[in-house]
């Protein structure tokens, strides 16, 4: 079996070479009863520089999640001994608030709502791509960071003021439509991190279905033409096979 890195080849570390996300090492716990799937995930996380442990049933997962100091839990919805939602529920009851991402084969809207209500922080339906899972896990791990409370986001010479809704690139004001503003706001909130198309669709548009056409790409290219066009240094990068990222390329 080819390793994850081999499979992606030129997408070193899972992403394209031109724009590397700011990656700080994460500690993950994968709670998944399918050993092959768990092995694959642990290996793939390690290859991109994270540390991942695995638990193969609900009980084991609960004990490890309570004792270990993890940044993110990846929890399968259906587990032997104790199902995924119960594991998260128990953790929350005991005051453990490690961000948890639920993996589910069900994937219907109400299942998703149920998962989030049980204390899950994000939800991904199977089958998923690893780049999607990785992007979501990295966003979850950083969630504890301070970005959410800042009123002004800054990436290089691009600033976005969340209160006055003013966007500046250098000394130039950029006029954005309301939705473009929210798109840029979400991208800048997660500056240095990859955000996928479905994450954008979910968080900027609040839709959980697949729009089939490349609608997000077109919105991104419009936004890009507003914030990057005419500037020598592009900030909004396409991460091949994964999604988009805003970052200061000079760093």
């Amino acid at each position: 079996m080819a390793s994850f890195a081999d499979m992606n080849g030129h997408r070193a570390s899972g992403y394209s070479a031109e724009a590397q996300p700011d990656r700080t090492e994460m500690r993950l716990l994968v709670i998944e009863d399918d050993r092959d799937a768990a092995d694959y995930l642990v290996k793939a996380f390690r290859e991109v520089g994270h540390v991942a442990d695995q638990a193969n049933d609900g009980e084991e997962g609960l004990v490890m999640a309570l004792d270990g100091d993890y940044d993110v839990l990846v929890v399968d919805r259906m587990l032997p001994k104790r199902d995924g939602l119960a594991v998260i529920g128990t953790l929350r009851e005991k005051g453990k608030h490690t961000p948890a991402l639920i993996l589910s084969a069900l994937g219907q809207v109400d299942d998703r709502v149920k998962g989030l209500r049980a204390g899950g922080d994000d939800y991904l339906s199977k089958p998923y791509s690893f780049s999607e899972l990785l992007a979501r896990a990295e966003v979850l791990a950083r969630r504890g960071g301070s970005r959410g409370e800042e009123t002004v986001y800054r990436v290089a010479d691009l600033t976005l003021d969340r209160l006055s809704h003013m966007v500046m690139r250098g000394k130039e004001e950029i006029l954005l439509q309301p939705r473009e503003f929210r798109l840029l706001e979400y991208l800048m909130k997660h500056a240095g991190q990859v955000v996928t198309r479905t994450m954008l669709l979910e968080n900027v548009w609040d839709y959980h279905f697949d729009p089939q056409t490349n609608v997000i790409d077109v919105h991104i290219s419009r936004l890009r033409s507003k914030i990057d066009k005419g500037f020598s240094q592009p900030l909004l990068h396409t991460v091949r096979g994964a999604g988009y990222m805003i970052r200061d390329g000079a760093r």
Partner: protein, 469 residues
Amino acid sequence: MTALGKLFRTTTFKLTLVYLSVFALFAAFLLGYFALNTRRLITEQITDTVNAEITGLSEQYRQGGISRLITVVDARARRPGSSLYLVTTFNGDALAGNVGSLSPGVLDSPGWSETKYKRLEETDTTGHDALVRVFQLPGGFRLLVGRDLDERERLYHIIVSAGRWSIAIVLVLGVIGGVFVTRRVLRRVDAMTETTQTIMAGNLTGRLPVAGTGDELDRLALNLNEMLERIEALMAGLQEVSDNIAHDLKTPLTRLRNRAEEALRSATDESDYRAALEQTLDESDSLIRTFNALLMIARAESGHARDGMAEFDAAEIARDIGELYEPVAEEKGISLKIEAAAPAPVRGNRELVSQALANLVDNAIKYGGPERANGAPAQIVVRAINDGERILLSVGDSGTGIPEAERPRVVERFVRLEQSRSQPGSGLGLSLVAAVARLHGGELKLEDNAPGLRSVIALPRGGPVHSPG
């Protein structure tokens, strides 16, 4: 189970038996009461008459002595009737009267008694019953006055035997009626059971027999038939889904497998393998998409998604979806207009309605472009209208449209018209829209936009009306 045993075990038969015994008991009680009271009444009448006669006769005795009494008694005894008279000396010798013999000891006990007697002229051995009163006269004479009881007994027996017979007839008729009714009911229930068995054996087209009398069994049968109708429709849907899954998933799966096989056989360097793997990933992504769409349709059709319904503004959805697709349309040289200023509140599943509208807009962009016949730029209009009772979400394009004859067909799953085969897509878009509309108690209408196609999702404002049953 024997036929008879089955009969006896039925509720109808048991009920019949219970009613029958209650009725028979009541009838027996009533007749018995009637018979006894009649008897008592007759006895009272006899007593009264006898008392009156004794008073009269003793008056005669007081006035004219024994000889007068004998004359009067003789005269009365000779009259026809059921009255009995006897005058005796102190030692029992008969002086006058129409009584030949009596049960022994009757004359010695003054007062009332029932006795056997024979008249003077009678010779047969059996006696008759009589109610008599013996009266002591001064001088040791005894006067006996009585009445024959045959009449009373006859009446009593008539009533009793009439009672017996009628109860017997009631019982017999009741049992026969019970058996008859029970067998009728049993036949219908048996017919129903038989039908349900064939249905359980897999013949879902079977329906329970309805007698047309509108009784409770008919109502039950009609309701069950309605249920069967629904089950059959669901099963047919399921069958269709699995057929479609087989059809539409096997084709790309075959393609995927062939590519992998070909890569294994003929790829020579790493870039060949990579290309093959990337194609495989793309292929599996589109498989997942088709699969998700199928699940979504099945879910919408099962009515399960009704749980998550809430009030939302369809105009806002029209604006949001329009805005989401506007850049894509523009990129293809199509202008997308949104006409949804007035609020259009509707009850339903926001996510599903959004997806349905997105599918229509997606279709309009794919097939409604790129240019009108007269060279004017293509246009798509997304509209939300509140016509009072319904909310109409429509997407009109200026493309080639769909010929009227083909319109009903395109809503079916996996149907893609010849000219659209070159475009990517699962062929499930419109069936999902139709399923979502039906879920909300509405419909999907395809109309002529002159030129182009106008697809309209019509939703009742209050959401689906839950049909009973």
